[in-house]
């Protein structure tokens, strides 16, 4: 039975530019120094459990979770802790980090014992996921164990594995699905066991027919269902993906669990499989290094703490001057100003853009064409909102649900007036959050 391609409201279809989709994943060579941030996730930074001068082995715990919403951090290789300092993050923030000097032996620590997942209890599996420091690898880096522990009043009936990779240029998830399909499917089944759900869907966009076919073949005989989706950005945004697959709408301000769904990236599933089957903690991930200025764009399995500059060197260096370097994809990634930023658990790509690919628009007043309303996947009115935000009417913006904005950038992508719509929405979101915090502080 062929299924009609599923879709959601709005969205755009940017040029895909997936130039590294044929490049097989290569393990990155060992470096002399790794800068391992203790905050590679949303929430509280991990607490270092090593001190300066300590010898550590690959996979050894170096940071324990600092709170409920936090994640463990493990050493990417064996060596000596040079110091505990701070490092720059892609958002321009300083985060505590362990500077690790490799001894070149890459000696592994005693792995955690493998679990027999079909018979292990969900709590046992959850503990393993927490111990392995697994976070959402699609970009948000939300600690997986928190996501897999819904409050008892929410019933989860569907697990969606996100292999959509709707961001242009990025190919890391695509390659992972092609090269480790068993891991992805096992990871999905382990996650389903933790949640106790029967319906498991792996969603892949129709521009990756090879991955769809391969996973469909490997999923035969399991509860996992593989579905191909119409190519449309931002299909990989969880609210849009849930709607496209199940027709359920996550309420404003709500979470996927409010409609009985949990969405997880395929990379996370693969990491969960490795943690349960091999006892391997999360200290490396597949990252795409791409862009027209690079000599050899590709996909690498980098250890966390690899500085961006090393990743770019690995891709053959640059043949043209990159004017913009982005952490993540071109639509939602963050422009960075330093190449000392280390690759973290959520870094899906490093993108370099040449001068002719970056255009500076002259922003002009909104012409009320409504194109942004047609493309906004959240059904918002970015154009009208942006006018209010320019006038600093943040309370009105809050009433108009500015916090629902997923910052996908579809509005700004199509704006004929070149307005910085998504930037204005981001500012309003920040202002609304500050105002809410101030209000809460006043009450307390």
């Amino acid at each position: 039975m062929t299924m009609k391609p599923l879709h959601f409201y709005g969205g755009v279809h940017p040029r895909e530019s997936k130039m590294a989709s044929a490049a097989a994943i290569v393990s990155a060579p060992l470096l002399a120094t790794y800068v391992v941030p203790l905050q590679q996730h949303i929430g509280v930074p991990a607490k270092p459990v090593v001190a300066k001068g300590d010898k550590v082995l690959r996979g050894q715990l170096i940071g324990e979770p600092g709170g409920f919403i936090s994640a463990a951090v493990h050493a990417p290789t064996s060596g000596t802790v040079k110091e505990i300092a701070t490092c720059l993050g892609p958002a321009g923030n300083q985060s505590p980090a362990v500077i690790l000097e490799s001894d070149g032996d890459d000696q592994a620590a005693e792995p955690m014992p493998a679990l027999d997942w079909p018979n292990a209890s969900p709590d046992e599996l959850k503990k393993r996921i927490a111990d392995a420091g697994i976070v959402g690898m699609g970009g948000a880096a939300f600690p997986s164990v928190v996501k897999l522990s819904p409050p008892p009043n929410k019933t989860i009936d569907t697990l969606i594995l996100n292999g959509v990779e709707c961001e242009p240029c990025l190919t890391a998830d695509h390659r992972l699905m092609l090269e480790k399909p068993e891991q992805v499917i096992t990871g999905a089944r382990i996650t389903a066991r933790v949640l106790g759900v029967k319906q498991v869907i792996i969603a892949i966009e129709a521009n990756k027919p090879d991955a769809v076919a391969l996973l469909q073949e490997k999923a035969v005989g399991t509860e996992v269902e593989v579905r191909s989706l119409r190519v449309r950005y931002p299909q990989g945004a969880e609210k849009q993906l849930i709607y496209a697959l199940t027709g359920r709408k996550v309420p404003s301000g709500g979470l996927p669990m409010d409609v009985g769904c949990v969405v997880q990236n395929v990379g996370t599933a693969s990491a969960i499989c490795e943690a349960v089957d091999d006892g391997k903690p999360l200290y490396e991930r597949v990252t795409t290094v791409t862009g027209s200025p690079l000599v050899a764009p590709g996909n690498w399995r980098f250890r966390v703490g690899t500085p961006y500059v090393e990743a770019i060197k690995l891709a053959g260096g640059v043949k043209a001057d990159p004017v913009k370097i982005i952490s993540g994809g071109p639509m939602m990634g963050m422009a960075v100003y330093s190449l000392d930023i280390p690759i973290m658990k959520n870094c899906s790509g490093i993108l370099l853009l040449a001068a002719d690919e970056v255009r500076q628009y002259e922003s002009s007043p909104c012409i009320r064409c409504g194109r942004c309303n047609d493309t906004c996947p959240m059904g918002m009115m970015p154009g009208i909102l942006s006018v209010q935000i320019e006038q600093e009417r943040f309370e009105l913006a809050e009433q108009w649900h500015v916090l629902d904005c997923i910052e996908c950038g579809c509005c700004a992508y199509g704006c004929p007036a070149g307005r910085p719509l998504v930037q204005l929405m981001r500012r309003a979101k920040a202002e609304v959050m500050t105002a809410r915090k101030a209000k809460a502080a006043k009450k307390a």
Binding site: A91, M334, R427
Partner: protein
């Protein structure tokens, strides 16, 4: 023709009705309100905490507010307001805003090229802005646009207050995302034009016009006039030092408002490194 006559008649009749209503039912205007309103600057800047000048006057007359909340009112006008209200007037400390940063393009390092929304708050959203110093003025003019009196000018990506135009309403203080604008007594002759609490080597890496915390000013003026907070000198505005003290500051970060930022001694090494 009939239409013209009808409309004229309606106009005259309604006019009469309004005139009679005002004559017999109108509330008498308080002459005090009008007199005080004339002494207000009429900028409706909101610095007094009321919705505008008229709102403040109403509050004054009804005794709900004290005189002297308006920062842009002259001393004489305030005196008159107090006389009209029959209150004794307290001497008021007149304030002015100071942007505590010297990091213009000439002195401050830029770590990135920012070409997004031309607004300091938006720039803060993108990796904390483009200036190397995370405490310095972003120089995109959010304060200048917020100033109702046009007293702030952006010069080489640094906000500069023109004291003669500043009335000390404090709008810029709340709008600045870096929180580096301070309201200080207008009579204070010198200010520290730096806000970075970092250690001197860290600051000097990103700005050649930063306070290096050398304590020379504290030694020269005494602990009761100047003090060091971490690695940053501060003026004690209760008891400010005289303008002569600027001579001791090696980076000219302690200076009068009229004096330009930076000095020969600081700019010189930068010039020699150039080919």
């Amino acid at each position: 023709m009939t239409a013209v006559i009808t409309l004229t008649l309606i106009g005259v009749l309604l006019g009469l009705a309004i005139a009679l209503t005002v004559r017999y039912f109108g509330a008498p205007a308080d002459p005090l309100v009008e007199q005080i309103a004339e002494l207000m600057p009429g900028a409706n800047c909101g610095a007094c905490g009321f919705a505008g000048c008229n709102d403040y006057v109403q509050a004054l007359v009804s005794g709900k507010a004290k005189p002297g909340l308006c920062p842009s009112q002259s001393a004489e006008a305030l005196q008159k307001v107090c006389e009209l209200l029959g209150l004794s007037s307290d001497p008021r400390v007149e304030k002015a805003a100071v942007v505590c940063c010297s990091g213009s393009d000439q002195y401050a390092i830029r770590r990135a090229f920012y070409n997004g929304v031309n607004d300091c708050h938006s720039a803060m959203q993108v990796a904390g802005g483009s200036k190397g110093c995370v405490y310095g003025c972003l120089g995109l003019g959010s304060c200048a646009r917020a100033c109702p009196f046009g007293a702030i000018e952006i010069q080489n990506h640094l906000a500069v207050v023109h004291p003669e135009l500043c009335v000390g309403c404090g709008k810029c203080v709340t709008v600045c995302p870096r929180r580096i604008i301070k309201l200080v007594p207008r009579s204070a002759p010198v200010h520290v034009f730096c806000s970075s609490p970092e250690k001197a080597p860290v600051k000097r890496k990103v700005c050649s016009a930063a306070c290096i915390g050398c304590r020379k000013c504290v030694k020269a003026a005494g602990e009761n006039q100047m003090f060091i907070n971490g690695f940053l000198a501060s003026v004690n505005y209760e008891n400010p030092p005289s303008a002569d003290i600027v001579a001791v500051c090696p980076t000219q970060v302690l200076r009068t408002e009229a004096q330009p930022a930076g000095s020969e001694t600081v700019a010189a090494p930068a010039a020699t490194t150039a080919p």
